[in-house]
Symmetry: C2
């Protein structure tokens, strides 16, 4: 694991490599994904079933839809401990997201004019839940609950079914959330189907959810025809720690990100050289004991970094530049850092807030901006499932007060009928 | 101008053409725009200057920057009436957008856990202001003011300078808004420059502003590396009217959209056949007298439509399907429609609220979703210039209460270190 000293001469160029870690290079897959999307637009379910045969190893069967019975059966097969955990997560995530709900507002002027902003739920949302080796019920909870809280009427879920099977835990989570429409289809094809509709799969207004480079590229290509949440890459953690932090805990936290993905990034920034060097040793002590050793090792070696700074201010400044997805502040005075944290998807404060608690059931969303995009993207939330409309209502007096200025501006921009539309109502 | 009756047999297929009016087909320009972007990434200002020579008819001079002196001189040359109009617009737009500011919030649990959401202004915003024959100071106001209200520290403006000249009124508006960095460069090259940075032009975090298909395509291509506001096409208006509306006024309102652009759309939906037919006559009566007759005529003939429905409910349902950028409700009981309006960029209520007042100085933003994207996009606002971070802080008790469920979920997803990170803090 790389150790960098901020005072070293070569530091800036080494650090810039970390800042520019996002290598979301879609150019290579763009042609293939474009072809997949066009194929689904042109041939609908037929194209989808061919893709399913190719990528998921089954023929798509009679129907791509997941039945309510399948969900119920999976729920019944789930043990009580897991049911309780899923329900606790559901309740806590719902509770947090309810606090994000924005209200329609109006404001009034003395002349009787009314201005405002109307909040309306999106009609139809499509949630993409990746498949692969493991089940990710938490991804379903984190995508569906903000949509449910926003008041979305139709929620569609697409998830790949390797050999026709959807993991039982994911089906059980669908049952708990009362998902009415879910389909066994994944990849770029699923994104195209939700963006443009097929005979089986309804066209939606917004598509959210994580996915590999094919899914991410498809989301980018359909953006504009539908809305999307964000374009996300490999997961990442940054920790700012001082000597008050527990070396063993922080080592595990960094490894918990590294175990996700060989491309995941784990950064520690501290002004304590002593802590930094102990941490490095501790990581290498734990690493061989992990089940996901191979993945975690590659991630730590190739993507991880420990940065030793001169002081707290410098640690914060560098962490803001990295703009990480998950940021832990492992110090006794963690809240004192908060005013200075500009860029981070989620901020975990203090010694008892491991990042993993945010992945499952603290309440805030675990779909977060990666690769430095916390500079401009926000966590997935209720906001992704509503839209706003401006409200303007004037009476004759209100319009009169603005008419001269409005006509002057319309005139200056050469738009005669704009000017006339005010003039005829006020003279 | 097309007149459609909702009860006619062929209505649905005719109407679907209007619903699917967005022909944002970027496939044709995608290769050229990709090349322009790559050229700017590779060769920076040199590439930009070549593009300026090609598209704007000058060589880019010694510096692409617009000096404070140029802005000041333009402001001094502006007459008082226009200065007052611009200042009134600025004040009203600022006042409205201040109401959109979201606050950082925290919530507390009895066990001492803290959850919340931090609001932070985006660091650097790039505003694109189109050029061409007319000056659009209103576009600058509408893009810059939400950024200013959000607290963005660095605001960059790019605008094409035909033959090296930026319209005086736009320069004056820059002076009024105290824009510190502005550059004479337009098109896809300007978007690339703001997304990736050149020697002259700083890299930004979010790019907003209208533009032609090249600009829109460039925005889509850089999306993910920066955030963007939306992908917008030609302007449009929909009016729901009944017999209480003034035929002359509504005719002018529809024409005020048609005069923008041959591709602009104007729709009237009413259940009054009498009103509909009178309106059609009135449009053709006014049309020949307009300065922008040729443009308005093509727009009305090719893109306009009058739709006669059976009743008010049907009018609303069809208008929701059209999801127009600007929606006027020209009836005495306009507010009674509001609960049922689901999709519209801005809603103008009553007989004294012409759409044009929203273009300049009612206060709400005039950058609005077009082409049916009001189903999922919102008006430009302060929200486009901030980002959110989730806040999670737990003590030992708080973590203890969630630990079992969290470990069960981490276990189920096969993430051992996730589970460990909770376990080591609670046992």
């Amino acid at each position: 694991m790389k150790v960098l000293y901020s005072r070293d001469l070569g530091f800036r160029s080494e650090f810039d490599l970390l800042v520019n870690r996002s290598d979301n290079d879609m150019a290579d897959v763009m042609p293939i994904v474009t072809e997949i999307i066009n194929d689904v637009r042109n041939r609908g379910d037929v194209a989808l079933k061919e893709q399913i045969l190719k990528f998921d190893g089954w023929d798509g069967g009679d129907s791509l839809a997941i039945s309510k019975d399948e969900m119920k059966e999976a729920f019944n097969n789930t043990n009580n401990k897991m049911k309780e955990a899923l329900n606790l997560a559901k309740d806590r995530i719902k509770n947090y997201h309810k606090k994000q709900l924005e209200k329609t507002w109006l404001s009034f002027e003395e002349n009787g004019s009314i201005l405002g902003q109307k909040i309306t739920p999106i009609d139809k949302a499509g949630l993409y839940i990746p498949g692969g080796k493991a089940a990710y019920p938490s991804s379903l909870l984190m995508n569906a609950i903000p949509a449910i809280v926003a008041g979305v009427k139709q929620i569609i879920v697409c998830t790949p079914a390797t050999n026709g099977k959807v993991p039982e835990l994911l089906l059980a989570a669908m049952y708990i959330l009362d998902i009415k429409k879910a389909f066994k289809v994944g990849g770029a094809g699923a994104i195209a189907a939700m963006a443009y509709g097929t005979k089986s799969i309804p066209k939606v207004d917004v598509i959210t959810g994580p996915g590999n480079i094919f899914v991410a590229t498809a989301k980018k290509l359909v953006f504009g025809d539908v809305n999307i949440d964000m374009i996300a890459g490999p997961s990442e953690i940054g920790v700012i720690a001082d000597d008050s932090a527990n070396v063993h805990h922080i080592a595990i936290d960094l490894l918990s990100q590294a175990e996700h993905d060989e491309l995941a990034s784990s950064f520690l920034i501290t002004h304590s050289k002593d802590f930094a060097l102990k941490l490095k040793d501790e990581i290498y002590r734990i690493l061989p004991n992990l089940k996901r050793y191979e993945i975690a090792k590659k991630s730590i070696e190739n993507k991880g970094a420990i940065i030793i700074t001169q002081n707290k201010d410098e640690s914060i400044a560098l962490m803001n530049e990295l703009a990480v997805e998950h940021l832990e502040i492992a110090t006794n005075d963690a809240f004192s850092y908060l005013p200075f944290i500009k860029n981070a998807g989620a901020i975990f404060l203090g010694h008892y807030t491991p990042e993993a608690i945010g992945d499952y059931l603290a309440g805030p969303n675990h779909t977060l901006p990666t690769g430095g995009s916390a500079r401009f993207f926000s966590p997935l939330g209720v906001n992704n499932f509503i839209k706003k409309s401006s409200i303007i209502s004037m009476n004759k007096n209100g319009l009169n007060e603005l008419s001269k200025a409005c006509m002057a501006l319309a005139d200056a921009e050469g738009l005669e009928a704009h000017k006339l539309s005010v003039e005829v109502r006020t003279n």
